[in-house]
């Protein structure tokens, strides 16, 4: 079924953006609230998110979303007021509500109405809300639906309607009569005024107060029924009866009143105090009405008077201003940031080009003033370009929090399902990372966390039997390290047994028995990233590791990241993910082979070695060198990219660049090392297609193109053959 909303595309976009923020906040903070039950600030933020979602969705015209958020807000409001406390069932129903909210939000994106049945969750929500106050469950049910526009009829108004008095008459006590008499002596008129407010009026008491205030601007109020105190206590009715002294004409006052919102009928008559002598009691009708209302209001929810935040509450106000930091932010489309980054990339290239041209000029015109000037300008442009690049990179950065947010909830659910007792710890959420990288690492992290819960952490009994604490932990942390971001997933579970991995890899036909024997433990453990091994369910049970580890590595490599495993049998495992800060610009080691320039991403370079004669050996039918007692397989870049070899180079001038990927190392043989440089990655795109061993290209300062070496694919190639 198609959905339609009364909103422009801009409005819907903004709604979705904000809704997403609120949903994320709920996702993270609800779970936090379960642990930090007394954190009032947290609770207020959660309440605000639900409340704002309600208001916005109702305005958008998404009634079901408004109903659902209303139900959630209702519970949160009660928690806020201390009428309900956070228990597991309450948290469950709130989280369930959140899940439904996500579906409803999706409806707005797809404009397709989902088939979720809200009846049940709305029922659970109002039942949970009533938990604190069983007496008022009927009233709660009423509140759980949002009345649409002006058709809203409050119970209160309806109850009072029947009791409307027919004639404006007013009983005054002695003091009040004296007040009237004094007014009349001053030449003023006394009126008895009956005002009927619309029964559909929203917030009847406030409306009544405003009406009373309007009357005050037109004279002196001698008496009102209900009194202004009663109105302020929210005990107003749709009938307001006022004794007023004024120097204005009756029609004038009636006219003013009729202009007021929600005033449906005004009747005014001169007030004759002599006729009112006997009755010190108010007209029956009004009294009855008042009683009815009072009863209803009490049943609803007797609110503590001081619940209003900040109202006349000095200390609360001070607290508020302490955190009152006005954020000056604008929303920018990611695409715009990408474009900016590309443009800066061009500038970075030109900067290098400019420096080269200057070098040429300087050598030609030695100490010419113009050249000097140009030099200074060029240096300045260079500096500004660097700053610009840094600033734009910053704008692209997001705290990993935006990704981590959803994990506490996920871990809570997974642990419950698996019947394990797991403390989930997060650290370094404020660490920033390029948003496109954040997008890519979500799935790998989910895989790792899921595996930690499903396979790594033992059930409580098993842990106790092993002499461990019954509660295990999984710790997800992020930190900045030089030019990289390190994300670690660490747990104190079973650990990975290299022998079991060897055995299953052989069984699966991934490696031969002989190769398996040759692998050291780390190499064996790294096999869990091999495709075909980890996808087998059986293996995951044996190895304590689960599904799709090859996907984990592949996704990370896509963003120039790598993953390492540190594990100790019986003690636990840590996955250490190393990520670049950004994707668009990388630092690379520039090398040349047959006077062609290649860029090797610095992130994977371990060291460079100058080769001496005869150092290259043939080991297992593959060229290799021995470095500090370890065999390092070699790959000649020249052969890799099919250079037409022109004569044999002197081996004394050959270099090996040692690269590392997830603990696997190999050497790339090149002619010479040029140096480190920042390169802007350009994808090769459709011109060349997918070239083996090439991750992209970059344009050099002299305008020529250098290929960027794809280290992961090369390492895999060599390791597979090995």
């Amino acid at each position: 079924m198609g959905l339609q909303f009364d909103a422009s595309p801009d409005e819907i976009k903004l709604f979705l953006e904000e809704a997403e923020e609120h949903l994320q906040l709920l996702e993270e903070d609800l779970v936090r609230l379960e642990k930090e039950k007394d954190n009032q600030e947290l609770l207020q933020a959660i309440f605000r998110a639900a409340h704002t979602l309600k208001g916005s969705s109702a305005t958008l015209g998404h009634q079901r979303m408004a109903q659902l958020t209303h139900g959630m807000e209702n519970i949160l409001d009660k928690v806020r007021k201390g009428q309900l406390s956070i228990t597991t069932p309450i948290m469950d129903v709130l989280l369930e509500g959140l899940d439904f909210l996500k579906v409803l939000k999706e409806e707005i994106e797809t404009l397709e109405e989902s088939d979720v049945d809200l009846e049940k969750i709305l029922g659970s929500l109002s039942k949970a809300a009533a938990g604190g106050q069983t007496a008022s469950s009927a009233a709660e049910g009423k509140l759980a639906t949002i009345p649409e526009g002006s058709t809203a009829v409050t119970e209160v108004a309806a109850a009072v309607q029947a009791a409307e008095p027919a004639v404006p008459s007013m009983a005054l006590d002695w003091d009040e009569k004296d007040h009237v008499t004094r007014g009349k002596k001053q030449g003023k008129m006394a009126y008895s005024i009956l005002v009927n407010l619309a029964e559909t009026s929203e917030m009847l008491s406030v409306r009544a107060l405003l009406t009373l205030m309007a009357l005050r601007e037109n004279g002196e109020i001698v008496k009102s029924i209900p009194s202004s105190e009663e109105i302020e206590r929210e005990e107003a009715t749709s009938v307001l009866h006022v004794a007023l002294i004024s120097d204005r004409a009756k029609d004038q006052i009636v006219h003013v009143l009729k202009e007021l919102p929600d005033v449906v009928r005004v009747e005014a008559a001169p007030l004759d105090i002599t006729r009112e002598e006997a009755g010190a009691s108010a007209p029956d009708g009004v009294t009855v009405a008042k009683t009815t209302v009072a009863a209803n209001e009490q049943a609803n929810a007797p609110l503590p008077k001081d619940e209003t935040p900040g109202n006349g509450n000095g200390s609360a106000k001070i607290k508020d201003t302490k955190i009152a930091k006005v954020s000056r932010t604008v929303r920018v489309d990611v695409e715009l940031l990408d474009n900016l980054m590309n443009l800066v990339g061009e500038l970075v290239i030109d900067r290098t080009r400019l420096a080269q041209l200057l070098g040429a000029l300087e050598s030609k015109y030695d100490s010419n003033d113009l050249v000097e000037d140009l030099n200074r300008t060029s240096v300045h442009i260079g500096r500004v370009t660097t700053l610009l690049q840094e600033e734009i990179m910053k704008a692209r950065m997001l705290p990993v929090e935006s990704l981590f947010n959803k994990f506490p909830r996920m871990m809570r659910d997974l642990s419950q399902q698996a019947g394990k007792d797991i403390e989930f710890i997060m650290e370094g959420q404020e660490t920033e990372l390029d948003r496109s990288i954040i997008e890519e690492i979500g799935d790998p992290l989910i895989h790792l966390l899921r595996n930690a819960v499903d396979h790594a952490i033992e059930p409580p009994e098993e842990r106790v039997a092993k002499g461990k604490k019954p509660q295990g932990y999984v710790k997800l942390s992020a930190r900045h390290e030089e030019n990289h971001i390190i994300i670690s997933v660490k747990e104190d579970g079973r650990g990975i047994d290299p022998d079991k991995i060897r055995a299953s890899a052989v069984k699966k036909g991934i490696i031969t028995e002989e190769v398996a024997r040759r692998l050291n433990d780390q190499e064996a453990i790294n096999l869990i990233f091999a495709s075909g091994l980890s996808t087998a369910a059986k293996v995951s049970e044996v190895s304590g590791r689960g599904v799709g580890m090859d996907v984990v590595r592949n996704n990370l490599e896509k963003v120039n990241g790598s993953v390492e495993i540190v594990t100790e049998l019986g003690k636990g495992t840590e996955f250490i993910i190393k990520l670049p800060l950004t994707l668009a610009i990388i630092r690379a080691l520039m090398v040349s082979v047959d006077s062609r320039v290649y860029a090797i991403p610095l992130g994977s370079v371990l060291e460079t070695i100058r080769l001496t004669d005869g150092q290259i050996k043939e080991i297992n039918k593959r060229e290799a060198i021995v470095v500090r007692g370890r065999v390092l397989p070699l790959l000649r870049v020249k052969e890799l990219f099919n250079h037409q070899t022109r004569g044999v180079r002197e081996s004394g001038k050959t270099f090996v660049v040692v690269v590392n990927l997830g603990g696997q190392q190999m050497g790339l043989v090149v002619d010479s090392l040029i140096g480190e440089q920042e390169v802007v990655i350009k994808t090769l795109g459709k011109f060349i297609g997918d070239v083996q061993g090439v991750a992209g290209a970059t344009i050099l300062g002299d305008g020529s193109v250098a290929l960027i070496v794809d280290v992961p694919s090369l390492v895999k190639k060599v390791v597979k053959v090995g």
């Binding site: 409001d77 406030v206 619940e307 900040g310 109202n311 508020d320 009152a324």
Partner: protein, 118 residues
């Protein structure tokens, strides 16, 4: 052109109201929380303020008090949800001139504004 300050922490709500108001010949200023609203009021002296209640940093009731302290003649209209009667009541006592209940009906906003500033 009469100036109206829209204070709401939901940018979506601000956009909706701002659009309606500009289409009807008002100049619109925006603020994302109560504190920003007070600052904007002091700086730009709008003819009328539409004030949300539940906001971070400073809520709408406190903002009304602050604005009234600065300018006793300020016209502030509260924008609230249905269940917030007590808060609206307190806002009125603090000097708010009227209130509108969300979800807004466009005519209601315009009518309310017209009553105060024509």
């Amino acid at each position: 052109m009469p100036k109206i300050l829209v204070v709401d922490d939901a940018a979506f709500m601000r956009l909706r109201v701002a659009k309606l108001l500009t289409e009807n010949g008002y100049e619109v200023l925006e603020a994302g929380d109560g504190q920003e609203g007070v600052d904007q009021y002091k700086k730009n002296k709008p003819d009328l303020v539409l004030m949300d209640i539940t906001m971070p940093v400073m809520d709408g009731i406190t903002a009304v008090q602050e604005i009234k302290k600065h300018d006793p003649n300020a016209v502030v209209v509260m924008c609230s949800a249905l269940g917030q009667q007590t808060m609206v009541m307190n806002s009125v006592k603090a000097g708010a001139k009227d209130f509108i209940v969300k979800p807004y009906q466009p005519e209601k906003i315009l009518d309310t504004i017209k009553r105060f500033i024509g």
